[in-house]
């Protein structure tokens, strides 16, 4: 009864500030507080109780409660609790105190909320537009319920170009992207360099917005959305698919049959296998080790075939429906999967041995792109990036879902905090995934694949789900709604957090290390940019303020 204990603790501490609380299950807690005390409560949770910041969500709740809703989600990893701090805001001029001075990681979340829902974070220090373009008229917010999903305001001006910040004195600007050779997806970085050294950068991304959340809230239904969710990202699609379904199931208090849970676990781990092998290949390609690039793709291919045999498609598995899964793993498939795993393991072992003694790779990656434990906490970095800095978090163990509470595995950590450690973490996690799948195959019991759902899903309930994607924690938040679709669905993909750590990672590094540093978080821009935005010039993110950069540059000049 962690949720209840924590709630008692809050009650003693904050007393009358708490307006209402929902305890949907043992490890979920929603606390509604007075808007003016959000800052105070989050400070306590983040600083004293040492919670990890997860996501900020803004929602237009006016058609239902006549108010706006803001949620800051936190995770207590050791206590296995996911907790939301929510506040209702008045319908006219919604605003809330910013928490970014305590929790820098909330910066993007709050700016996104301001752009899309029109909730003003008061006291945020860098309120440049994040998601919406400069050509988008003030006061038009696509995620408000009175805007249609295919509506572009008449005042929208596609010609208006984005204004970049001036480069600091003494620095050259190098544009990087939007279509570049090392990464597949469009994103644009402007590097401020001094000689060979990178002094700062400005990120202009959010180019892959497809309006997914808005589509889901306005035209799809509960069982369409899993297919939409897995097309958020082609690499870790199944993660989004499962995370969405789980958050709806949680909101509706449904429990899928055990066999379905095992199958979900197996598919998630298969996906992790192919994603990690892909990443190791690409990372080697970036540092110029093409042999291993080819090798790891060769080793990876049988996994894709296996996935196709199980689900009928190599990538987009279309695995989940609310309350279950659609594909079965038959005894023949089981046998075949086992032999694929055996082969994979025997082929991957020599690769890891070769890589971990390779002096060239070590030289290119040791001490590059460092993000230490302090940054992990303040920027909310997750996944292999956090684990490579010795921060022992893994949603599979901390917030177990599907069948992860019934299998044994180790969480791999390293201490180096650099690209090299991230490489090691990923390479070793492959073996853990193989171990997990084998256990699932052993333990999987017979039974139905889907739950029979007799009731209509309840309305207005909230569900949270965190799933450990290959890149880190993928967090979904759902409020169930009318018309067979959710009212609000918010996706926080892992790259959304990890990308915010990039400026710190590449600062004062050689420009040649930029690509591998960026590559090391395994960025997935289509995940990050899943929202709605319109212009190429949109969404510049400058995580560094001008003053800081200037100060940096000056220090260099003086020194």
């Amino acid at each position: 009864m962690i949720a209840r204990e924590m709630f008692e603790q809050f009650k003693q501490r904050f007393g009358p500030l708490i307006v209402r609380a929902d305890l949907p299950s043992d490890n979920r807690l929603f606390v509604f507080v007075d808007p003016s005390s959000v800052r105070y409560v989050t400070q306590h949770i983040f600083r004293e109780l040492d919670a990890r910041y997860v996501a900020t969500i803004g929602a237009d709740d006016r058609p239902f409660s006549g108010k706006f809703l803001v949620a800051h989600n936190f995770a207590f990893d050791k206590e296995h609790l996911l907790c939301g701090i929510l506040a209702y805001l008045p319908p006219d001029k919604p605003q809330i105190d910013s928490i970014t001075d305590m929790v820098p990681a909330a910066s993007w979340g709050e700016r996104e909320m301001r752009d899309l829902v029109g909730i003003e974070p008061v006291g945020h220090r860098y309120l440049k537009r994040l998601v919406l373009p400069d050509g988008w008229p003030e006061g038009s917010h696509p995620l408000r319920k009175d805007t249609l999903w295919n509506e572009v305001p008449a005042q929208y001006d596609p010609e208006r170009e984005f204004k970049f910040d001036e480069a600091p004195e003494g620095c050259m600007v190098i544009p990087f992207g939007p279509f570049h050779p090392t990464l597949d997806e469009p994103a644009h970085f402007r590097l401020f360099v001094e000689g060979e050294m990178v002094r700062g950068c400005e990120y202009r991304g959010f180019m892959v917005h497809r309006g997914i959340e808005k589509l889901a809230e306005s035209v799809m239904n509960y069982n369409d959305i899993p297919m939409l969710a897995e097309r958020i990202c082609g690499i870790c699609g199944c993660v989004h698919n499962v995370a969405y379904v789980q958050s709806v199931e949680e909101a509706a208090a449904l429990k899928p049959p055990p066999r379905a849970e095992y199958i979900r676990t197996i598919m998630l781990e298969l996906e992790r296998l192919h994603s990690h092998l892909l990443w190791v290949g690409l990372a080697c390609h970036i540092v110029g080790f093409d042999t291993l690039f080819m090798q790891s793709f060769r080793i990876r291919e049988p996994i894709m075939w296996m996935a196709e045999k199980i689900s009928g498609n190599r990538k987009t598995y279309a695995l989940c429906v609310i309350g279950g899964v659609r594909w079965n793993i038959t005894p023949e498939l089981k046998l075949e999967l086992r032999s694929v795993l055996d082969k994979l393991e025997s082929e991957w072992r020599p690769v890891v041995a070769a890589v971990s003694h390779d002096k060239n790779i070590q030289k290119r990656t040791c001490g590059v792109g460092v993000a230490d434990a302090g940054q992990v906490k303040s920027m909310g970095l997750i996944g292999p990036v956090a684990r490579a800095a010795g921060v022992d978090i893994d949603c599979r163990r901390d917030h177990p879902y599907a069948a992860y509470d019934r299998v044994e595995f180790d969480v791999i950590t390293e201490q180096g905090a650099d690209v090299w450690s991230r490489l090691l973490v990923r390479a070793k996690e492959v073996f853990e995934s193989i171990r997990i799948i084998r256990q699932c195959l052993d333990k999987m019991e017979d039974g139905p694949l889907q739950l029979e759902i007799k009731d209509e899903l309840p309305i207005g309930r909230m569900g949270l789900s965190s799933v450990e994607a290959p890149r880190g924690e993928s967090h979904h938040f759902v409020i169930t709604g009318e018309n067979n679709r959710p009212r609000r669905w918010r996706v926080r993909a892992p790259t959304y957090q990890n990308l915010q750590g990039i400026p710190a990672m590449i600062k004062d590094q050689q420009i040649a290390d930029m690509t591998i540093s960026l590559g090391s978080i395994d960025p997935c821009f289509s995940c990050t940019d899943r929202l709605e935005t319109v212009d190429v010039r949109s969404g510049s993110v400058k995580v560094w303020s001008q003053e800081e950069l200037l100060k940096l540059t000056r220090k260099k000049v003086e020194g």
Binding site: R20, H180, V321, L457, T533
Partner: protein, 178 residues
Amino acid sequence: MLKNLCQKMFGRSLWVYHANSGGCNGCDIEVLNALTPYYDVERFGIKLVGSPRHADVMLCQGPAMRSTAQALKRAYDAMPAPKLVFAIGSCACGGGLWFDSYSVIGPVEKIIPVSYYIPGCPPRPEAIIYGVAVALGLVDKKTAPVAFKELELPIPQYHPGDLRGEGELVVYEKAEKV
């Protein structure tokens, strides 16, 4: 006509540039996959290049987004003629799942002329290679008339009204007032 042109112009080798204008990664990886040992398109002289200025062919993935339309157009203009454009995946061919979302313009043909379409979500590497091989005249086009029928999907859909049932949901403790 196009086929003759292809054979004449690109007889020996084809340098391709791949541009993702806003899809998920699915199609990207399949294109990458086509380069790796199992499929190995380099044996047909097909090579991936990093700049549109070196390329004969552009492989487009993902729908045309409002945000990337200009960049896509610029990349296309930067390619030397004669040039071909392949639309890879349902997104590039027809706009995909999000064809009418307000941040999406639609299929890439709305921005640049497309010569060949390779559908699929994502298309298999074999399909991509086959498409390119057809363009090169290495294999013949195989077509057969197919009539599609809408299938009854075995997925339950919960519509309010017809599924109203008994039963109470137990776990959710609502609104504990303090």
